[in-house]
Each structure stands twice: as structure tokens, then as C-alpha cells.
Amino acid sequence: MAWYHEIASGLAALVGRRRQDAEMDEEMRFHLDMEARRHMNEGMSEREARRAARREFGGVERHKDDTRDERGASTFFDALGDVRFALRSLRHRPGLTAAATITLAIGIGATSTVFGVVKHALLTPLPYSQPGQLVGVWSAWKGFERTWLSYDEWEGWKARVHAFADIGLYTDASATIDGATPERVRSGLVQANVFPILGVRLDRGRTFTAEEDRPNGPRVTVLSYELWQRRFNGDPSIVGKRIQVSGADMSVVGVTPAGFQMPLDYTAGEHTDIYFPLATDAANEGALPGPEFPKGGSNHGYYGIARLAPGSTAAAANRQLHDIVAELEKFGYMANVGFHAYVIPMDEQVMGRVRPVLLVVFGAVVLVLLISCANVAGLLLVRGEARRRELAVRVALGAGTKRLARLLVTESALLAVFGGAMGLGLASITVRLLRSNAPAGLPRLTETSIDWVVLLFALVVSIVTALLTGILPLANATQLALSGELREGGRGSTAGRARLRWRQALVAIEVALAVVLVAGAGLMIRTVRNLLNVDPGFRSEGVLTMRISTPSVFYPDSVRVAAFWDDLQRRVAALPGVKHVGGVRLLPLASEMGDWGLRVEGYTPPPNQGTPGDWQVVTPGYFETLGLTLRQGRTFTTSDDMRAPLAMIVNRTFEQQYFAGRRALGGRVRIGGSDSTKWYTIVGVVDDVRHNALIGTVKPQFYATLAQFAVAPGNTRRTMSLVVKTDGGGDPKKLISSVRAQVRAIDPRLPVSEVRTMRDIVDAAIGGQRFAAETLGVFGFVALLLSAIGIFGIVSQVVASRLHELGIRAALGATPMDLMTMALGSGLRQAMIGLAIGVVAALMLTRVLHSLLHGVTPTDPLTFIAVVVVTGLVAVVASVAPAGRAARVDPNAVLRVE
């Protein structure tokens, strides 16, 4: 087969080039010798004979070249030659090569990093079976755009929404893995069908059965792979064993696969470590059995998840839900509150909040890449100027445009390869940084890694970069080849002017792109500042928090729980550096708070509406520790204990809604709708705390003490957060070990978890915006820097190319100031054009930030003015140094060069 010989010959040519050359030399020498001897035999002198042999043979070197070409693989050798040549010429100008490589590395590195993030967060589907068919099911009414399902709704949708193959309820909680070192872990309570809906295949064992998923059912549990490894050393016979969880005996029925996460885990930023059956039913929930709906609604407390029926869509499910809800409305279910129900694709539920942030960041990084391409193209153009003569000589010596193009493209390709390799190195560092400092509240960021898709992406980006950066210098060189540069005097030519114009255009583009980035960064920074300036209703500075549980096995009644908290707070308060200490059921901005139906004396809710109040359980020290503002009355004291009259503190929204025109202090409230619970008396009103989010409406909220909440409605809080305020602004983290030591001193069996500062919690709440602001800020800075380099370069070039003219002007009496102004103008004009284009582009593009902004419009005039000023200043600064050279022109020196 011919191709076989071709390939073998090509390979032989690659491997045995030297040997083949030697053989060819020897063979041709043999020919010449023999031919010469033949001539000598015919009577010629030796010299004569040799000359004749050579003449008849023809150009030896040419025949050698032709023979080499016939070996195959010569394209490869040509390319190798090009690469060698390009390397040499790049090495010749190390400064420029380094600048170009680093610029490209920044562009490619940043783009690859962000692509890695985007790919993992947005393009990699959630690790469930057919994740596109999974939806989250939500309820909503006035003021509650996304709230949980009630048991009645679940029963109703399960029976009537045919777009669902199945729907299940679940929720998250926490549990203690007992043992010598108890551990508090995140737990999942799931209906038996939730694992099948997710389509998870357990690592071992089985999921829960319907039989196990009922009130007072058998105590069974499924462990996460990680917990199984960590706490049970991967015991291969774990399934069927009994373990101690929160003081109860549980038998393990299964282990989830490694890395498995519940949908909620992505937003929570933690993995669920242990699962239990939800084990509830209509009777348990106070719900109507079967698909019946009580008019007033019931407790909305569960997350809903559904798998769409084959061929069905989320839109179809929403249509069916809409129709059913319209029917329910006629019947009077939760009337007048605008109740509705809807589904959202699980992917969007998990990533929806992050997607706009990531897309914005990705857009920004592409701009950075474009700027770095423009910059490198500019650098290569400058070099093209310096190499005019070299290239002209090459053209004169017969290098065709094709050959010239190949040389130049090889150069920019090499630069792109270096830049790409360095960029990947950079990306692997930034990805590692990103993983370790992933901003809280951005799900799946920690999964980012450099895998082959990212590598492929970096490769494609490098190729595109090579083309983008190579195309202008190439166009120039071709023009050069045609114009016959050698004839050109070498300075101030029209062709030179044309090339300068290209560079000026590049600089204008760079500035315009930079303006867009800086404007975006400015808007995001203002947003973050606005968010930080939102008064959350509490002071986060210097507050340490940790979660502590008092399981019922060790603390069977509320008296003991209250005693523990009294003891703990007394001990912690005595620690040096501690100013205040308190306890609270749910930390603000850390988790969403549900409500409790109330009865407020003297207030009648509109028909079919309840009197909900978000419930917060605290110890007396909480208000001072978090710095809540008391408006009326008093805060709790230690005397508000179990024996004392029940005291309640409400927020301003509570007062305004339920005590409109009345005095709230002294008003009476029952927690729970029934008459059996006792009356609380309002003793104080505090300012609103933004509990669920920094922005959005605040709901009526009430506070009761831990001790009294156990009296009415009779609910003992077993998990509370300890909050500790440092004295005199000390670092709260320094208190961690001493506070932990106090917990251990009282009861070593108690697990402590979620040790965080209040500051961390607030930061996490604005994580998305902060991430966008920080990345846009960095990118904006890089963009400005690159543009500054571009402007610097253009002014330098103008000065260099007009040195002669400037010298003459100086000789004719122009002052240094005149000369400097002239030079400055050349850079600033481009900057101004870029600025103008950039502002227009930014005005159009910043609209995409809309959903991320807070307290600032996408076309905020103040931001835009600041952007113009900053960019203008950068342009001036970048122009001044090279323009200074123009001012110092020595007419003698310049004119003497001629």
C-alpha cells in the first residue's frame, strides 16, 4: 500500500535525517567521482574531468534539497524552521516578548479560570438522574414570593397534577452523632419517595420504605458516604448496624454515594451527612386527610420536589397548578392573600441566584481577553515598525507574501502558546485560590477544577488569540511587501502613518473596553456599599456565633435546658474580652425564618387571613449582644423566667400591622390560634431586623425568652446559637477556644457547630454581589493597566517617529511646553475617542447588571462621571512620561543624525 510507504518514509525522514543526509552526500560524491574517472579514462586531466562531472551533474545543493523534499515530512521541517526562526526573533527582543506573553497569560488565564467556574456551575448538570426533569415546587402569596408547601398542598398536587410523575416533601435539620466526641451534622428529613425522585443509587444498602416513613415508625437512617468514612471508618458491614444519633438508637439501612448532595446543600454550602424518614402524615400535620384543603391553609413548612412525568415540562406543570389553584380560590382556600403555586426547574432553583453573577463575570473576562489581544497586537505592530527594514530585505530576497505571513503567524502563534501555557499555570493557581476562598453563598464554586474541557477551551482561546493578535501585523507586513519598503526613506513615510493609525484605533478600542469594565465595576462596588449600608437592624461588629444543641437524652426537660444556657452565659460573660453574651434560635441573615399563627387581642385580621408572626426565641442578653434598637418599653431580663408573667417583645412592623393606632405596650398576644395557650404581654418594641435578606419586606416578628417559650406554646428549643460580643472591638475569633472550653467544662458531650462571626454571615448574604464587585474590580484594574500601557506605547511611538520634526520645531523656537502638548495630544485624542465610545457602550451594556444592582441605576450618572475621570487620569498619566521626552528634544542631536 502506497500510504504505508509514504508514512514510513516520512517517519524515517523525521528520525534519521542526519544519517540520510550523510548517505545522500556519499552517494552523490560516488557519482561525481565515478563520472570524473570516466572522463579521465577518455583522456581529460583530473581537474578538467572533475569540472565536467560537476557541470553535467548540475547544482549539487539544489539536487540535495530536491531529494530531501522527496523524503516526505518536509512541511513539518518547514514549520520547524519557521518556529526556530520565530523563536530566535522573539528571543531577540526579550522585553517585548515578555510583555506580550504576560499580557496574553493574564487574558487567557483569567478567561480559563472563569470558564472553569462557569462550566462547573452552569454547564455541568446537577448530579441527579435526568436532572432536567426535576423541579422544585413552591407556594407563594402576598409578600412571600417563595415559600414552603403545606402537607395539604402536597397531598393535593400529588393527586391532581398529572405533569408530576411523583412529588415528595423534605426538609433540613441537624442531628448529633453521639460518641466520645459528639458531632453536630446537617441532616435531611425526606419522604420515602424523595431518593427515588432524585434518582440516586445508594453506595450500599437501600433507601427508606413507605412503611418506615410514618409517625413513630422504626428508627432508621441513611448515612452520607463522607460520614460513613469519617465516623465509621468505612465499616463495610455498616448496613444493618445500630448507631447512636441524638441520643436515640438508629439502624443504618443505607449509605449515599460519595459526593452526593441534596438540592438544598448547594445553597447552604454544606453537605447533608445523615438522613431520616420525614415520618409525618395528615394527622400529625393537623391537615385534612386526602386531597382536601382547609380554607385557612395550614402550616407551610416543607420543601417540595417533583419529577416531571415523561414528556411533560415545567410549563405544563405550572399550567396545571394554575388551573387547580384557580379552582381552590373559588372554594376559598387562602383567599385574599393572592395564593398561588408554581414549579421551577431544579437547576434554576439551585443556581438561579448565581447565574447572572457568573454570566456578568464571564462577559467581563472576555472583555479583558479582548483588551489583552489588542494590546499584544499593538506591541507586535510596534515591532513591525522596528523590523521594517528586516522584512523589506526578506521581500527583496524573494520571500513571498505567503512565506512572510507564515513567519509572522508563527510568531504570534508562539506567543499565544507561551501565553496560553502561562495562563493555564495562572488559572490553576487562581482556581485553587477560588476553591479555598469561595465566597459563601455561591453554590458549586468549590467544585471548580481545571479539567480537559477547560484545557480544550484554553487551547481554542489561544488559537483565537493568535489569529486576533497576528492579523493586524500581518496586514501591515503584506502591505509592506507590496509597497517595496526599501525604496522608502525609512522615516515619516505615509505607510508608517497608516500603521500608526491602526495602533491608534487599537488604543481607542482598548480604552473603550476598559471603560465598560470600569463602569460595571463601579456600579457593583456602589451596590455592595449600598448593601453594606442597609441597616440590618443589628450590629455585626465583634460578634462571635456558634450553634449548640442540648439533646433530650441529656436534657429531658426545659428546666434543664434553661439552666444550661444560664450557666453557659454566666461563664462566658466572665471571660476576659467578653462584653455581652446571649442566645438565639435563628441568627439573622443565616437562615430563613418561618411564622407562627397568632392571636392579637383587639386585632381582627381580614377575612381568611391569619395573624402570622415570625418567631424568635432568645435569652435576655441577645438584644444587647447584637445591638438591637429598643424603641419602647424594655428588653428581657433574667427575671423573665418560667415563673414570671409571660413577656413578649415585638418589632416595629408587628406594632404597625397589629396595633395600628393603638398602644402596643401592654397589648396581649397568644402564640398559636387555640384558646388553650396563655397570653403574652408586650413589654417592648424593637426596630425591625432584616432577618431573611438585606433587601425585601420585613414581616411582623416577635421575641420570647427561651424559658417562657417552653411554658407557652410549650416548645423547648433544643438548638440555639450562642452570640458573644467582644469588648472594645477585639477580634471575635480570638474567643473561639475559650468559649468552646466553657461549653466543654459544663458538658463535654455537647457538640458545637457552625462557629462563625456575624461579619461572615453578613458577607455571605451579599456574597454574589461582592463576588461580582471584586472580580469586576480586578478586571477593571487590569483593563486600565493594559490601556495605560497601550497609550504609553502610542505616545512613545509618535514621539520617536516625529523626533526629526520635533527637533526642527525646537530649532525654530517651539518651547518644551509646545512640544509636550503636541505629543500629549497624540495619546489623549485616542483616549478621548475610546472614552466616548466606551461610555456609550457601557450605557447600553450595564443594563445586564440590572438584577444584581441595589440602590443604583445601571446608568448612574455619578458612577459614569467617576469612570470618565478615572480613565481620563490614567490616560494623562500614561502619556506624560513619553511626552516628556518630546519636551527634552535636543535639536542639535536630532538634526545631526541626518
Binding site: G58, G59, D69
Partner: protein, 119 residues
């Protein structure tokens, strides 16, 4: 893949003929390059005398295609020389080329005959 030849189209025709003749001669006995060049000149009455060196790229091309094989052997005057020998594939190629040549020359002859008789 082989690069574009610097010889130009007319030289290509010569080269094609050269290859065919070389194959024919090598089919009779293995020969070194000089010997081949000498025989070519004798047989063709010096038509191929123009440029002896152009034989070597042609030989290399035939090596690459697997039509001939090369080996170093002692020559008649005790000097090492590179001998070429035809391969089975080379023989097939030769047969094909001869057939093609016969067809072409017959056609050309017919055209010429017709042209002269028709004049």
C-alpha cells in the same frame, strides 16, 4: 505529502518518463545511481544527459512510494555504493506505466496519422 516540485510542468513529463525508464532498467538488474545514469544516457542517446543530478530526487521519490529499495553494497571497483532494486510494487507500477504509455502513444500516433492523411 510530497511538496510541489521546483521542476515545472514540462520537467514533470520528463521526470515521469525518467521514472519509467529507471524502473525498466532496475527491473533487469540492481544498479547504483551512477550506473543507472550511465545506462540511461547510453540507451536514450544522451537525451537524459542534461542534468545527471535530477536522477536522485526521482529515485528518492520512488523509494518513498515503495517502488524500489536501496542497499549499500561493494561496487565493481571496491568502493561502497548505494544499489537500487525494484520491488514487486515497482514492477506493478512499471507494467501500469508501460501500458499507459502504449495507450497514449498509440493514440498520439493515430491522431498524427489522421492529421497528415486528412491534410
Amino acid at each position: 505529502m510530497p511538496t510541489e516540485s521546483r521542476l515545472g510542468p514540462r520537467a514533470e513529463v520528463v521526470r515521469g518518463t525518467l521514472e519509467m525508464l529507471a524502473l525498466k532498467l532496475l527491473g533487469e538488474e540492481p544498479m547504483h545511481g551512477w550506473g543507472l545514469s550511465l545506462r540511461l544516457r547510453e540507451i536514450s542517446r544522451d537525451v537524459f544527459d542534461v542534468n545527471q543530478g535530477s536522477l536522485y530526487p526521482a529515485l528518492q521519490a520512488m523509494l518513498r512510494r515503495g517502488w524500489i529499495r536501496a542497499e549499500w553494497r561493494m561496487s565493481e571497483n571496491n568502493r561502497k555504493a548505494r544499489y537500487y532494486r525494484i520491488t514487486t510494487e515497482g514492477r506493478k507500477q512499471l507494467d501500469a506505466e508501460i501500458e499507459e504509455w502504449n495507450r497514449t502513444s498509440a493514440a498520439v500516433n493515430r491522431v498524427l496519422r489522421y492529421a497528415f492523411s486528412g491534410a
